[in-house]
Amino acid sequence: MEIRTDSTSLDIDRHEGNLIKELRSSSTKPVTEPSGWLSEDLKRNIFLTTVDNVLNWGRKSSLWTETAFTACCTFEFISLSSSRFDIARFGMEVLRSSPRHADLIITAGTLTWKMAPQIKRVYEQMAEPKWVIAMGACGITGGIFADSYSVVPGYNRILPIDVYIPGCPPRPEALLAGIELLRKKVEKRSFLQG
């Protein structure tokens, strides 16, 4: 793209509009979720090594969250990180705004099609290994706005979700339970999977 000196350029909007259309037409089905981790329990027990243990302990103890929050659920996430619930106990108070540093996206809030390319892009730019928690009804199915023309029916249309937390919005305790589930999931990952 050439240098634009006027910021009100229609071209940018048009280009972004095309991106949205493209994404919308290409994501009609939910993304397959990351490999079923519960069924492979037995196999993994054999291969589980000390290295795995150490790596997974490190990864689960410092899940840094990307600040890609969209709507209402954000406030329950902030409640969780505030003094009362204090997510910092798990080493998760580090909010990184750059996807290169973050490990986890908590999809707090309704996702609209206009926002979808951005969220997808941020997810794609995150460094591996990365996880996604779908927080709230909107994050799972579009919730109360599922009928709307502009709302993505669930983040799983564009991202592979690891943990779903229902609620509108989920209480901080529920979010904490979800995070605990994710920590368990991280624990079971084998490094050979990448």
Binding site: M1, E2, V51, L55, P99, Q118, R121, Q125, F191
Partner: protein
Amino acid sequence: MLSEFSLIALFILIVMGFATTLVLIPQALKKIGIVPSKPSEVKYEPYECGLETIGETWVQFKIRYYFYALLLITLDITVIFLYPWAVELKNLGSSSLGVIFSFIGILAVGYIYAWRKGALEWK
């Protein structure tokens, strides 16, 4: 004294080696598969709040930022001369005061000139 400097020189090498190893460890671990690597086109694009970068990034930047660097070069290097004087002040005694004060005075002229010209304001 020279051996002290050779110690420093060797230490620079040690630290640089250490830093380089730090940066290169992931490359080694990538070979074993501990560090994942899933290249994709989007991943290697610059991050800008989830949008594509519009326009050029490496442009002719505003001069204002470098202005202070220029000022620093003029003042900083001369200020370093204060150090030898400061070390020897006890031996030099009061006679050196006048000399160094006039030295600082000359610097101050430049400093005040820069201030009056508005080089220190950020517009």
